[in-house]
Amino acid sequence: MKEYAHAHPIDILLSVSRFLGLLIFPVLRAIYSLLFTTNLLIDWLRGAWFDLLIILLIIGLGFIRWQRRGYRLEESGIRWKRGIFFVQTQLIPYEKLSVVAKERLFYLMPLRAVYVSADTDGGDAHSSDFSMLLKKKEADPLVEKCRALRDQPQKIERVYLPKNRNIAILSLIASNSLGGVLFLSTLFSGAGKVLGRNIEREVFDQLTTVTGWLLQGIPPAAAMVGLLILGGWCMSFLVNLIRHLRFSAARRGNWLRIESGLISRRLYDITVSRINLVEMQQNVFTKALGLYSVFLHANGYGKKKDELSVLMPSCDREEFQNNLRLLLPEFSLCRATVKPRVRYLSRFLIPPAAWIGGVSLFWWIVWRLVPDLHSTLLFLWLMSEVPCVWYLIVKIVSFFHTGIGVKNGVYTLRYTFLYRFKTVIVPRERIVSIQVKRSCMQFISGCCDVVIDTFSEGKKRHVIPNIPLYEAQQILKCTDLPEPVLLRKEKRNRKKPSSAS
């Protein structure tokens, strides 16, 4: 039997971080020497052997961890062994692999060390089923073997290379604190434009009075907070940009290879048959501009922290359809055939209207209770209404966006999640369950919410709200899944008049 191969020796040093908690003992000893002894340095030095012992123990444990971790390539899969006290052995079959990833981090490049990870449909949602830091010369054959045994490679390769401008747009959209920065900028600097200079001055005077009462020198601190948010956003933008520059997606046979990264290069081999879904995301701005950001959902891709599962950074509709035909012809986009009726429009408008009313009521009560701060309250009321009105706009657009379509066993689901418009293309086989939910009001109006769970290591749920029940029932029949009891009743009721006639 072939021996287990070990990780790159640098893994010993990286493993040490797991045992750094043991340093608490030298720290406690130092505190004891500091508090309870007279001759501090000599007493501390006398017991220095203990600190050295702990450091040796930490390094030793790192070494044992490295020594007990190993992998070997077998005929059917990757055999992986790990654990010091509780030894875990697992075999990951090649045909079950959904994603094999190779990550070349810039600081490990001089050492020729590469992170290799492999993932299946099962296992933990937040970590890879197999992950090891390997020598480059060992990593390449492993990745090649995983790919070769899953597929017969074809000569024709179709490649998609986005422009840097498109990657910059994605980074702009995906950077987290953009909304917050825009909002704060409007709050602090745009107040004058909205309400006039007098009110702006009054707001800042009031704010300075309140903050001055709370803490000394708050305005510079506020500026600091603003700068931090802006800096945070800039950093997030840069990280996203660097992570996704030199992006490419190539389709060859039964697998898709995605590469990205300017400094640290990441390579993913994704088995096409194990892709769960393709998801397009838009916000109001990108929808108005006709731009899409397209993401891929395959177990193991985009799993790590701050990692996005990008397929196309940003593109227009035509570009999207062409590239999708090029890379994933199995996933075809279709028009929504089941859409909300005009009489269900109120169901889209009531939640944002309730938010607008609720926020107004709250500020009106505050207005009555605090008569001295009318102008400040007016400004705060207007500012807090902005997200609510934005939500109303999103919901109006959502009414036209929402729907379900099906073509050749591939569903296209259109719905809104928070402030984002989503279009999801999912094959029938990757749907786990379908629920049809109806509230009392929906029972009266004859519409329903369709909740679709798709394949995922965690939970991936899509809620398509307020679509006609009977049409939803018809489109769901295509899934060959048992129909809910409620639908069967509805169907019977619909059949009765025809049988009577």
């Binding site: 059917s76 899969g77 654990g83 006290f85 509780f86 030894v87 875990q88 052995t89 697992q90 075999l91 990951i92 079959p93 045909e95 079950k96 299946t120 449909d121 099962g122 296992g123 089923d129 786990v432 394949f455 290591e457």
Partner: protein, 144 residues
Amino acid sequence: MKQITLKKRVLVWWECAAFLAAILLAALVLLIFVPGTWLWYLLLWVLGAVYVLTSFLYLPLLWMSIIYCVDDTCLMCHGGVLFPKTRVMHRERIAFITRVQGPVSSMLHIATLVVRAAGGTAVVHMVHEKQAEELEQELYGGIE
């Protein structure tokens, strides 16, 4: 349908663990509480009663209730005394299997299999090493 039950040594190991836990708890009670008080007596009596119930009733019943079955289509895990539970996992959904062995289980030649599938995990607790290996082989044989 192939059935796997637990070996007697597993029950012995559980009994030993329960005895050690009871001894440890009793020692804590004897050390912490004042001897001869009503609380001291109450704690010792409750501890004794719990130990007797666990050791002579619950653990043997639990040991007897645990059965694992495997056929062409699925893996079935059954177990539980107060709330018996049966978990059925389709073999075609199985992604991979992890075998776990601690220091004691290595000594007793027993292993635990964690069967990971798309959407869930089933655990085959403390079966004999040989049975674990056979089960693993059989389940991997069903992977298409």
